[in-house]
Amino acid sequence: MYVYDEHDRQIAAERVAQFRDQTDRALAGELAEEEFLPLRLQNGLYVQRLAPMLRIAVPYGMMRSNQLRRLARISRDYDKGYAHFTTRQNVQLNWPNLEDVPDILAELAEVEMHANQTSGNCIRNTTTDQFAGVQDDEIADPRPYCEIIRQWSTFHPEFAFLPRKFKVAVNASEKTDRAAIQVHDIGLQIVRNEAGDLGFRVHVGGGLGRTPMVAPVIREFLPELDLLTYLEAVLRVYNRYGRRDNKFKARIKILVKALTPAGFADKVEAEWAHIKDSPTKLTRDAIDRIKSYFTEPSYVSLENASDLLAKQRFENRAFDQWLSHNVDTHKKPGYSIVNLTIKETGTPPGDVTDRQMEQIADLADEYSFGEIRVTHQQNVVLADVRQDRLFELWQAIVPMGFGTANLNTLTDVICCPGGDYCALANAKSIPVAEAIQRRFDDLDYLYDLGNIDLNISGCMNACGHHHVGNIGVLGVDKKGEEFYQISLGGSSHHDASIGKILGPSFAREAMPDVIAKIIDVYVGRRTEEETFLDTYRRIGIDPFKESVYA
């Protein structure tokens, strides 16, 4: 994992001093609220419905145990003793005092953390696959490239006041996309060309929200060393020509659409021609240096523990289920990837208490080289667990509430904080997630249904990624009352697609029944081996409509 050197430490310390000064001037009335707004947002600080909200960066989702322990302590000392893991792989505190934020930043800087550019109209936290570096289907480890982008984008002097927020994601697997790159402003797929050289396929102009779009490819192959100069060209074109007259039309996807992907690509190429060989061009040394931070942990040489696991599975059905659903294969023999689901029914998806954060940190130290990853599905990953210790780990996590064996099933809901916390929301989302979790509480039935992405957002901003859920739920406000609109057929993977709206919206109480009817259509019409999405794509939306609105 990346470790700060003296430069990173100095910049982090200077940033804390700067934000302290900005906060002091804001509190002294020297900065108008509208002047302080973008400054505090670039530091992740929102003023929300009930209190400020502070979004802390977790670059590409990775943390060390000491960092998570510090987050636990901060949430206890400065907040109400819990935090929220977000779909941006970040961590949010819901109740800090504005006056305390500089001190919180100072505490974060001590453990090499920060809240830089977690909000605002600037380049946000770059995200990637939570299994980066531990599965054998990736072309190269995406994390060094994410770190290179993190450094380049941090306090970039030209791009601090873009037309709108800007999000980059990197994916390295040919088989799957766990980073949803095609619904980002820039999505980078790591590829090799015919000559075997490493590079990126560049998607630009995807995104959710009011105008959901899947990002077109604007360059099939970008050589590795050209990564930053090309990003700079894309951002410069966006900064100069993106719309600023209407915040709903200000995302880069609108510019790409207006110019057409080919027209946009031409503009970027023309800009890039000027800066392609500028000092921002990466060097082999620079890449190797960053890569040296992402070397393998000290794995021991092991065989797969197949016999042991078979025996333990046979003796314990719940362990067997957990192993089947929450544990993934690992590139190293004898190791596994463990997904801790933070989705116990009755707990808002992504919410963790200070005590739970400390428990996760302890688990990471004991079982996974002290490293933790946050996923965009709001779960937590221990990436390097010895197979012969899986049973022991499972016994430890079940009482903690992390052992719910429902990963990727209907109840592993992605859900924004919604109207319970968020000032933007039109409707509550957490109670909807909970009602559905309660309705579908039979694990065997969930397993029979297979993988289904159910994503819930409390408003058009789509923090719950409802557009790309196989089943998407969007909270809408109708004359002060909360209703929920359903879309079907979304996907955030390599086959990315935007869900299609089913029809008129429903009252909250009706939601579990509506979901059940949709599931019944799938169960009745599927062929063997078909996932929900396969069936939907084969039979279309009409059979679902007929059943739900009958």
Binding site: Q10, E14, R15, I148, P157, E158, R240
Partner: protein
């Protein structure tokens, strides 16, 4: 007379006046002192203004610095207007003027220029700043200097941190 901040944080008297774009039907009224006029009008009246040390230009944030082309160094001052401090186009304009067009003279930020944007402006090539009048010009030096280094190459340095680390 109003004051401006220089890139090193020092303060000096501002002897340039920004001439607004004339209303439709009216002609440009150039005062009898150092004046910054709209860049497109300078180009349109090039014969009249060329070579004058008392005439500079200002660009608005939607305008193309490329339009000045190889004439940039005939101008003693180019100002870039920030109509709103949240309008970041001026940063790109500044880098293009400096790095692509090779502009070497005074590059000035005008308009909604606040303290917390100065460091970004400086890194993108501005070397003077006409702060919005209600801002405390005495605090400019501090705000220009919060950071002793940046990660990126920009107009102020052609060595991004990754190149310095290698050295």
């Amino acid at each position: 007379m109003p004051e401006i901040v220089l890139h090193n944080g020092s303060i000096k008297q501002d002897d340039w006046v920004v001439v607004p774009r004339p209303e439709e039907g009216e002609s440009l009224n150039v005062p009898d002192q150092k004046a910054l006029i709209p860049a497109d009008l300078w180009l349109a009246g090039y014969e009249r203004y060329a070579g004058r040390a008392d005439i500079g230009v200002w660009l608005d944030s939607h305008q193309e610095p490329e339009s000045l082309g190889d004439k940039v160094n005939e101008l003693p001052v180019i100002a870039v207007n920030f109509p709103k401090f949240t309008d970041g186009r001026g940063y790109s304009i500044a880098r293009i003027l400096r790095e692509r067009l090779g502009f070497e003279n005074e590059l000035r930020a005008i308009g909604d220029v606040l303290l917390d944007q100065l460091q970004f402006m400086k890194r993108c090539g501005f070397n003077s700043y006409a702060l919005r009048p209600d801002k405390d010009i005495q605090k400019a030096a501090k705000c220009l200097g919060f950071f002793t280094q940046g990660y990126q190459a920009a107009t102020d340095t052609d060595t991004p941190l990754f190149r310095r680390r290698a050295g």
